[in-house]
Symmetry: C2
Subunit: 352 residues, 2 copies
């Protein structure tokens, strides 16, 4: 390829940098995931060539890369500091300028890498990314977008999942725009149905902020379908569910808690009594299919939408398989030019 001046331009690639220090089981879990994404099976999902890097402490990560024979296949980007899971975001932002998250975000800003994926401290990842990458024109606050499994192999995107505890109606409308663009780009839904998470389907329900948001969404160019409830998250009637980060985070963690509680009870019943146990063994493949299907790890990788650059947050407790999914989310965002598309759509919808 050559541009107008006849100079050689590098072939377009998908270049993803992963944080070597984020997550309960880092760095080994991160390296396990890197081995998975370097496989031909993973690469075959994308039309563009993939390049991976890991950012973090060189003396710790270099020997691990060598041990796995990954030195030539994964670029090591040195970063001296580590942001802990309990560090206060504001302090981490100011005091750990050489952390893996800071260095990673700067490299995405400078165009050295296309995306950063981290299983680290959510608040710090958001604060640092926002400070370094800035928000897109027209967007006041980035949001964490979380994909939820729905009936009939559907998917629902919920945002904000925890970045902004308090939101104005304008923030919520911006989340609706970003979520709609994301579902267009990532899931190919032409005209995504947007719902507002509320405590009843009637117009009169909810807080003043919710009522004002509903009025603004009704007047927007979005495919706004009105209020939805917690029970609708798993249905097939809505594609994008908008809420503030407090409510979204409680909803997500309640899902996690409910699923874990049910699984524990199921397991204890199925393993007590010989007949039940034998039955459970016979039904094992069905139970495994069920588990695979509703496995939350498959949905791991929450994009921080609204930033001028691609950043994906993985669950802190992710294993290698689910961290691989989060890297996949980042690759798709790069391959679909998500940042540019959201920028254009926000502009169009705001001009309308």
């Amino acid at each position: 390829m050559s541009d107008e001046l006849g100079q050689q331009r590098p072939e377009r690639q998908i270049r993803v940098l992963v944080d070597g220090h984020g997550g309960d089981d880092a760095p080994e879990m991160v390296l396990d995931a890197l081995q998975q994404v370097l496989s031909p099976a993973f690469a075959s999902q994308f039309l563009l060539p993939l390049t991976f890097g890991i950012v973090g402490q060189e003396d710790l990560l270099r020997p691990l890369l060598e041990k796995r024979g990954l030195t030539d296949r994964v670029t090591l980007v040195p970063a001296a500091d580590i942001i802990g899971m309990c560090d206060a975001p504001a302090l981490a932002l100011r005091r750990k300028k050489n952390s893996s998250i800071h260095v990673g975000a700067r490299m995405v800003r400078d165009g050295d890498w296309d995306a950063l994926v981290s299983a680290g401290n959510t608040g710090a990842l958001m604060a640092v990314s926002k400070f370094i990458l800035k928000t897109l024109p027209g967007i006041d606050r980035p949001a964490i977008a979380s994909m939820i499994p729905a009936s009939n192999n559907g998917r629902t995107l919920m945002l904000d999942a925890g970045a902004n505890s308090e939101c104005t109606s304008d923030h919520l409308v911006q989340f609706a725009i970003m979520g709609s663009c994301y579902m267009q780009a990532a899931e190919g839904i032409e005209y995504p149905r947007v719902g507002l998470l509320n405590i009843g389907s009637e117009e009169i329900k909810g807080t003043d902020v919710i009522k004002l948001t509903s009025a603004k969404l009704t007047d927007s160019e979005l495919n706004y379908i009105g209020n939805v409830e917690g029970t609708d998250l798993f249905g097939n009637d809505v594609d994008v569910v908008v809420c503030d980060g407090f409510v979204g985070n409680v909803a997500l963690k309640t899902m996690e808690g409910t699923a874990r509680f049910l699984a524990e009870n199921m397991r204890s019943e199925l393993t007590s009594g010989l007949v039940a146990k034998t039955g459970a063994l016979m039904a094992r493949s069905a139970l495994k299919r069920f588990k695979d299907k509703v496995n939350p790890g498959k949905y791991n990788g929450a994009p921080l939408l609204g930033l001028n650059g691609i950043v994906v947050k993985s669950h802190g407790g992710a294993d290698a398989d689910s961290f691989t999914c989060a890297i996949g989310v980042a690759c798709r965002e790069v391959s679909e030019n998500l940042t540019d598309r959201i920028t254009e759509s926000v502009q169009e919808l705001m001009d309308a």
Copy 2:
């Protein structure tokens, strides 16, 4: 029994009035439940004699009672109007003064009955009850308290589950006091552990209202254990979880949605393929025990706490079994003198 003046005093009883018109399957579902609570098995749970009444349209309910031979065993309290599930609470309060809910609440106020149980319109039930019964001294707003199943056959009480979308820190502190008293009285927990629903366990998380509430709870005489998250609702580390009604309602409906989604997927996997199906049949009793154990109907019956009288809200979609559970909740509240106990505790905690 006779009082100081030597007059005959009626023996103490538990007198519960049920709304004949609330719920998707009323009035038949309500009558089915009345037949259950008239059984010796139900009565054996209580030391005091039980008396039941049904409030609603006489010409509709009288023939149904006659058909079931219940005319002598259930008092029919006539009420001309019905509040629909979609009626706006404020309008229903003003315009339907002869509704079953209005008449029922007035009879509880006047001491003719000890408690009202309804599966009807939640907002209207709350508005009418608050208007007629008033709140207890020191309580600004009543809250809906919802019991959640927890590990090891435990129970967690969450409030508010939907009555108050927007709350101040004082409201939330009052919910904490009422929830704590309820768990003492209903579950016999001496010093219930109170947690504040938040989006992280660290002190710095959450909204300004949440942070202020946390500071006030820390200074209170309650057994306050700090922030809890959505994942903690099903654990054994907290007895009372406090939140505003918006967040509580979203959490409850998200639980419901998650459980339904998982059950559907499980069912579809277990009924596909002969081996899986046979295994599922063999494990049937285990699956049934599991279902019984996590059956949300068992936890039906949410007290409206903070009123000067006992009112219990049943899920609108309740069947007779779960409506029976809601009547049981009301009977226990009467038998434990819950209103008086909350009044005393609120006074003590406010004086402290």
